[in-house]
Each structure stands twice: as structure tokens, then as C-alpha cells.
């Protein structure tokens, strides 16, 4: 991976648009892992992430000449990657006819039980990260995309609203509901929609899901 090029992201993109043969590759290498993280966390699937990232890079490659510098190059790239991921998730959702284990089609009740914390173990940080990642993958994709961009990638709500072309309030709502759902998936909160739910503090012997 070449990272010795001192040009800025914008300069690299402009150089690529002007015909510099190595500029786009340098730009990709510079942000490869972060773009990959966005793709794999958004799709929740390695192969879908690879396909979406490839489509995104082809798209970015073609669209470079239209970049106007209205946002950071990384934001622009993230936008392209996320939209490629969302397109793929929408297609997959539309094409899916038979639910597969661990995928859409499970009941909410089944979903709520997935990915909850197990008792503490060695390498707890790594294990916790894996559990959180699995829980994230259980969210509806519109909520997941927002959490990936806002909470994991550090974009502002306004940036994400611009990326996804929806209102800021919508992003806030998706983030809020996604976090609340994660709270249940991760065992920080009982499923409020489960039958017989009793608020914490008033639980009975059956109070543990």
C-alpha cells in the first residue's frame, strides 16, 4: 500500500480527473480500510461489502470529474459507498422470498434474542466488539447505516442527512431508534415489545430474557 504521496485527497481526485494514472489508486489505498469498514458494517456481509465497494469505486472513478469540493473527499467517498450498499440491501430485500436463518424474515422476538452479552471472558474488548457488530447487523438497514456513519465513522447528522438525501430529523430518529434497539439486542434493556414485559425494578422470577 502506497501512502507516501503527500498530496491532499482533493488534489489526488483532481489529478485523477486530469489523467494521473496513479492518483485514484493512491486515494483508494489511503482510505481503503475505512471504506471497507463502512461497507462491511453497513451490509453486514463480506461478499456484499466487497461487491458494493467495487461498484462504488467504479462509480467514484467515473464521477471524479464532477467532484466540486462541496464536501470532504472522504465524505464524498463514504456517500458513494453507502449508497452502493443501500442499493444492494434494497435489491436483496426485494428479491428475498424465503427467509434465511439469521436474515430478514425472522420475527422480532427471535431477533431480540440474538447477540446478547454472555458472561465476561478473556479478551472482553474483542468479544464485545464482535457482539456489538453482530447486533448491529440485526438492525433494519436504514437504522444501521445511520449508526455506522454517525456513531462509528463520526459524521455529523447534517452530513449524513446530505449523504442519504433525507431530513436531519429522520437521521436523528433512525439513530435514536437504532440505539434503543441495540440496547435490547445487547441485553442492556429488556425487549419492551415482548409478551409479559414488566419494567425493570418490578420484574418477577421470569424477568430475565
Amino acid at each position: 500500500v502506497s501512502t507516501s504521496d503527500s498530496r491532499s485527497d482533493t488534489d489526488l481526485l483532481l489529478a485523477h480527473a486530469a489523467g494521473d494514472s496513479g492518483a485514484f489508486t493512491e486515494l483508494f489505498h489511503r482510505h481503503r480500510d475505512r471504506l471497507w469498514a463502512v461497507a462491511v458494517r453497513t451490509t453486514g456481509d463480506r461478499e456484499d461489502a466487497a461487491d458494493a465497494l467495487q461498484e462504488a469505486m467504479l462509480s467514484a472513478h467515473r464521477a471524479a470529474a464532477r467532484f466540486r469540493g462541496e464536501s470532504a473527499v472522504t465524505t464524498w467517498l463514504h456517500r458513494i459507498v453507502v449508497n452502493a450498499c443501500v442499493d444492494r440491501l434494497r435489491r436483496r430485500q426485494a428479491q428475498r422470498t424465503v427467509p434465511l436463518p439469521g436474515q430478514d424474515g425472522e420475527t422480532d422476538e427471535e431477533r431480540w434474542h440474538i447477540g446478547r452479552h454472555e458472561p465476561a471472558a478473556p479478551s472482553v474488548d474483542l468479544e464485545t466488539a464482535m457482539v456489538v457488530r453482530q447486533a448491529l447487523a440485526q438492525l433494519p438497514y436504514d437504522q444501521r447505516v445511520c449508526l455506522v456513519l454517525v456513531d462509528l465513522e463520526g459524521h455529523s447528522v447534517a452530513e449524513v442527512a446530505q449523504m442519504l438525501e433525507v431530513a436531519e430529523g429522520t437521521i436523528k430518529s433512525r439513530c435514536s431508534r437504532g440505539r434503543a434497539r441495540l440496547a435490547t439486542l445487547l441485553g442492556h434493556l429488556r425487549n419492551p415489545d415482548a409478551p409479559g414485559f414488566v419494567p425493570p425494578g418490578k420484574s418477577t422470577i421470569e424477568g430475565v430474557l
Binding site: 471497507w36 469498514a37 463480506r46 461478499e47 466487497a50 462509480s59 431508534r177 440505539r179 419492551p192 419494567p199
Partner: protein
């Protein structure tokens, strides 16, 4: 009368999504007056703090691209498809094409090389298959290799497994440019096998001679090479391959989703030899 807790609304409230709206005051009032809402708000507030810690932990966890995928992206980036092309009159990859049938003599000439090339590719693929973790079919098939006959798509992308994951059918239909333009959608891929049906003959339209012209493309490696060239010609996800007929000649009618839009791409029997043998393309209406 107690108002049941609306957990989505409560999440919106605590997340700031209701700021500046009338609902904000309503939820605020409910939390002040209803024990159920108050308890739920307290519980969710505590839980969200833990979620925040969890997400923070995950954000710090390195998510590096796997080495095999990184290698494949390097191949993609080094391909002509990814070279800077500040063309004066760039060709729109999604623009409609006109019919350009490959001359029979040319097909015949290339047919001579089909078997040795396929054997060589199969041997290379076997080696790669044994030594390289598989990557998803779409990605594997779109490594965007050079598109000349001398520089065929890389063997690493050409495996029977990667070819077989594209749904195929042999409808035997006779298509025309008019019918394809009006085609709102091809048959659902879920109605077809995920693996090519190499055993059964084409049904319907094409006769024996036409079947034989498509026989080469019933080989998984040949089909995969063809689809690789098709993806170069029209980047996107291939959702269905139909062994059928176009304006009286045998052809593959291929459904592609590109940038969120559906396309039909028609490839001739020489697809994959030195290009996609493109005959026609049209967006789905």
C-alpha cells in the same frame, strides 16, 4: 387512564429527534406525570449510555480489508477499466448500442482456440481454487481485467463455482429490440436454478444449429469469461442469464442491475472470446 409507553417515540425524544416539535412537550409531560413513562425513560437513558460505550468500543476496533480482497482490488485498480480516461467524448457506459454482429469467419477463427484456452484456464483456475479463498461471484467476476484477446480476464476470477452462482435459464424465447424495450422485467430469478442447467437442451425457439452455437457458453468457465466481459461493457450486478434468441439468432439475454437501474444486455455466441460480443442493450422500462 395511563398512556402506554411508546418506545419508539421515547427513543426519538431521548435522541433529540423531537426537539422543536410539539411531540417533545407531550412526551416531556408524559414522563413527568406517568410512572410508566418515567421508568421507561430512566431505563432507556441508562441503557443508551451502555450502548454508547459499546459503539465507541466497536469504532475503535480495526476493520481491515482482508488481504485476499485487497489483492483483488489492486488488480481492479490496475486494470484498463480503472485507468484515467479524460476522453474528449466519453462513451456513456449505459448508452444504448446498435446491432453489431460478429462476422461468422471471425467466430470460426476463434472457435479454433476455444478448447485450448478453456483447458488452460481450467488448469489455472484449479490451481487458484486450491490455493485461494473464494470471493463472492460478482466481485470475483468483475475484477475488470483487460479486454483484449491477448489479455483475457484473470484465471483467478474464473472458476466453475463463481460462474454457477449466476442464475440461468434456457427459455428459448425469441426476443426483439422492441420486446426487450417493452420488457418490464425478466422472469424472477427465484424461479430458476442457481446453477446452470447444462444437461437439458434449449427449449422452444432455437433449432439444433442455434443450440450448438451457444453450447460453448454452457461451460461454466466460458460463461464466466463471457460475463466478465459483459461486466466490463456494462458494470453492474448480473441477475439472470437466459439462453435464448434475439432477432432470429441464438443469444444470451442478460439482466443487469447497474446503478440501481435494470438493463437488458444481449450477447452473441462469441461472448467471452475476445469481448462481450454485444448485440444490443436497453434499459428496462
Amino acid at each position: 387512564v395511563t398512556t402506554p409507553v411508546d418506545h419508539d417515540l421515547l427513543a426519538d425524544y431521548l435522541g433529540g429527534a423531537l426537539d422543536g416539535t410539539p411531540e417533545h412537550e407531550q412526551v416531556s409531560a408524559l414522563i413527568s406525570t406517568s410512572p410508566g413513562w418515567r421508568q421507561a425513560a430512566q431505563d432507556l437513558t441508562l441503557a443508551l449510555a451502555s450502548v454508547s460505550e459499546d459503539l465507541h468500543l466497536l469504532s475503535g476496533y480495526p476493520e481491515k480489508m482482508p488481504v485476499d480482497l485487497a489483492d483483488r482490488f489492486d488488480v481492479l485498480l490496475a486494470s484498463p477499466e480503472m485507468s484515467p480516461q479524460p476522453a474528449k467524448n466519453p462513451r456513456d457506459p449505459l448508452a444504448e448500442r446498435t446491432v453489431q454482429r460478429t462476422a461468422p469467419a471471425k467466430r470460426q477463427r476463434w472457435r479454433k482456440w476455444t478448447v485450448p484456452v478453456a483447458v488452460a484456464v481450467a488448469m489455472g483456475s484449479f490451481f487458484v481454487l486450491r490455493n485461494t479463498p473464494m470471493v463472492g461471484s460478482t466481485f470475483g467476476g468483475t475484477t475488470q481485467q483487460p479486454v483484449t484477446a491477448e489479455r483475457m480476464p484473470q484465471d483467478s476470477a474464473l472458476t466453475p463455482e463463481s460462474a454457477s452462482s449466476v442464475p440461468t435459464t434456457a427459455s428459448g424465447r425469441e426476443h426483439s429490440r422492441t420486446s426487450l424495450r417493452q420488457f418490464s422485467s425478466l422472469p424472477s430469478e427465484s424461479t430458476f436454478s442457481q446453477t446452470p442447467d447444462y444437461a437439458s437442451p434449449l427449449s422452444g425457439g432455437p433449432g439444433i444449429a442455434q443450440q450448438s452455437e451457444l453450447d460453448r457458453l454452457r461451460d461454466p468457465l466460458a460463461l464466466q469469461k463471457c460475463l466478465t466481459f459483459v461486466r466490463v461493457a456494462l458494470p453492474g450486478a448480473i441477475t439472470l442469464v437466459d439462453y435464448s434468441s434475439f432477432e432470429g439468432s441464438p443469444a444470451l439475454v442478460i439482466s443487469i442491475t447497474s446503478q440501481g437501474k435494470g438493463w437488458t444486455f444481449v450477447a452473441g455466441p462469441s461472448c467471452g472470446i475476445d469481448d462481450a460480443d454485444e448485440i444490443f442493450r436497453a434499459p428496462l422500462q
